[in-house]
C-alpha cells in the first residue's frame, strides 16, 4: 500500500487554493497535429470531486449563449496554470442549480473582502 502512495504522490502538483463558486481561468495544453498551444477556459467552479491524484473539478461558463462545462483532472500534466480570477460566496458544494438559471440569476455573489 505504501509503495502505491509514493507513486501517487509523485504525480501530485502544486495547486493554487480555490473553492466552489470561484471564477477560475484554466490554461491547458492542447495538441493540434504536431503543434502544441495553450488554451484558456474561464468560468465558475461548480464542483470538486475525488481526492489525491484522482481529484477533478468542473468549470462552467456561458459561451455565445450556450452553457459549456468542462471537467479537469486537477493533477493532469496538461494543465499549465489555474488562476483564480474572482472569489465567490456560495453555500453549497455543487452548483448544479446554475444550469437552470439564466442571465443575472446565473451569477455567483462575489466576495468583497479577500480570503486569506
Amino acid at each position: 500500500m505504501n509503495a502505491i502512495k509514493v507513486i501517487e504522490e509523485g504525480y501530485k502538483k502544486e495547486i493554487p487554493p480555490f473553492r466552489i463558486g470561484d471564477t477560475v481561468s484554466v490554461s491547458m495544453k492542447i495538441k493540434e497535429g504536431e503543434k502544441e498551444r495553450v488554451q484558456t477556459f474561464t468560468g465558475i467552479v461548480i464542483g470538486r470531486k475525488g481526492s489525491g491524484t484522482r481529484e477533478s473539478f468542473m468549470v462552467r461558463k456561458i459561451s455565445y449563449g450556450i452553457g459549456v462545462e468542462k471537467i479537469f483532472p486537477i493533477h493532469s500534466p496538461l494543465i499549465e496554470n489555474i488562476k483564480v480570477v474572482k472569489q465567490g460566496v456560495v453555500r453549497r458544494a455543487k452548483l448544479y442549480y446554475l444550469r437552470d438559471k439564466k442571465g443575472k440569476a446565473a451569477k455567483v455573489k462575489e466576495k468583497t473582502f479577500l480570503r486569506k
Partner: protein
C-alpha cells in the same frame, strides 16, 4: 523468454506524458535469486528455479528446503517457481531491469476465490424472470436430452466452485519500471488479490508436444 516473480501490491491511476489517465497495477517484481539451474542432460529440460519473498526467521522451513537454499548460500524464500529463461546461473540475482517500458508481458496468478457459485455468475447464463409467478429465477434449466444420450454431456456448465484458479493474462503493457524500488507498473488488471504472488513472463508458455 525472460521472466521474474512478483507480488501484486494494488492498483492506482497515473498520468501518461500525453495527459491520459490510465489505470495501472503496481507489482513488486523481484529481486529474485536463481536457486537452481535445471539442465537438459540432468533434468531433461532447461529452466531456472527462482526464489522470491525472503523469509526472515524460517523456523517452519523444512530441513531439505533449508539445505536447498544453503547450496547457493542464499536466504530462504517463500515463493519458488521455474521459468524457462537463459543467461543466468545459480546464485545470481535477477532484477526488474531485465524488462523495459512499453514491453508486452503475460502475468500468471491465482484468481480471487468466489466459493460455490450458481450458473449465472459462473457461466453467464441469463436466468429467468424475477417475478410474475416465474419459478425459474436463477436455475440452470435443462441439462440435456432424453433417450440419446441418456447422460449429461461432459463439460456441461453447471454450478460449482468458482475462482481460486491459475489464470494467465496475456499482452499486458508495461507502463513504467522503477528499478530502485523494484516496482513494475502494468496497464490494466492482473489476476488475484492484492498481496498475491505472480509469475511475470515476456510471453505465455506454450505446451510443446514431443514426438
Amino acid at each position: 523468454m525472460k521472466g521474474i516473480l512478483g507480488k501484486k501490491l494494488g492498483m492506482t491511476q497515473i498520468f501518461m506524458e500525453d495527459g491520459r489517465l490510465v489505470g495501472v497495477t503496481v507489482i513488486e517484481a523481484g529481486p529474485v535469486r536463481v536457486l537452481q539451474k535445471k539442465e537438459k542432460d540432468k533434468d531433461g529440460y532447461e529452466t531456472l528455479q527462482m526464489g522470491f519473498d525472503k523469509i526472515r526467521k524460517g523456523k517452519n522451513v523444512t530441513k531439505p528446503m533449508q539445505g536447498h537454499f544453503k547450496k547457493t548460500s542464499s536466504p530462504m524464500f517463500r515463493f519458488l517457481k521455474e521459468i524457462g529463461m537463459e543467461g543466468f546461473n545459480a546464485g545470481d540475482d535477477i532484477r526488474v531491469d531485465i524488462f523495459s517500458r512499453g514491453e508486452k508481458i503475460s502475468v500468471t496468478g491465482t484468481s480471487k476465490g468466489k466459493g460455490f457459485q450458481g450458473v449465472m455468475k459462473r457461466h453467464n447464463y441469463k436466468g429467468g424472470p424475477g417475478s410474475h409467478g416465474s419459478m425459474f429465477n436463477r436455475a440452470p434449466g435443462s441439462i440435456g436430452q432424453s433417450s440419446y444420450p441418456s447422460r449429461v454431456w461432459k463439460n456441461k456448465a453447471l454450478p460449482g466452485h468458482m475462482g481460486d484458479e491459475r489464470i494467465t493474462t496475456k499482452n499486458l503493457k508495461i507502463v513504467d519500471i522503477r528499478d530502485e524500488q523494484n516496482l513494475m507498473l502494468v496497464e490494466g488488471a492482473v489476476p488475484g488479490a492484492n498481496g498475491g504472488y505472480l509469475i511475470i513472463r515476456s510471453e505465455a508458455p506454450v505446451a510443446v508436444k514431443e514426438n
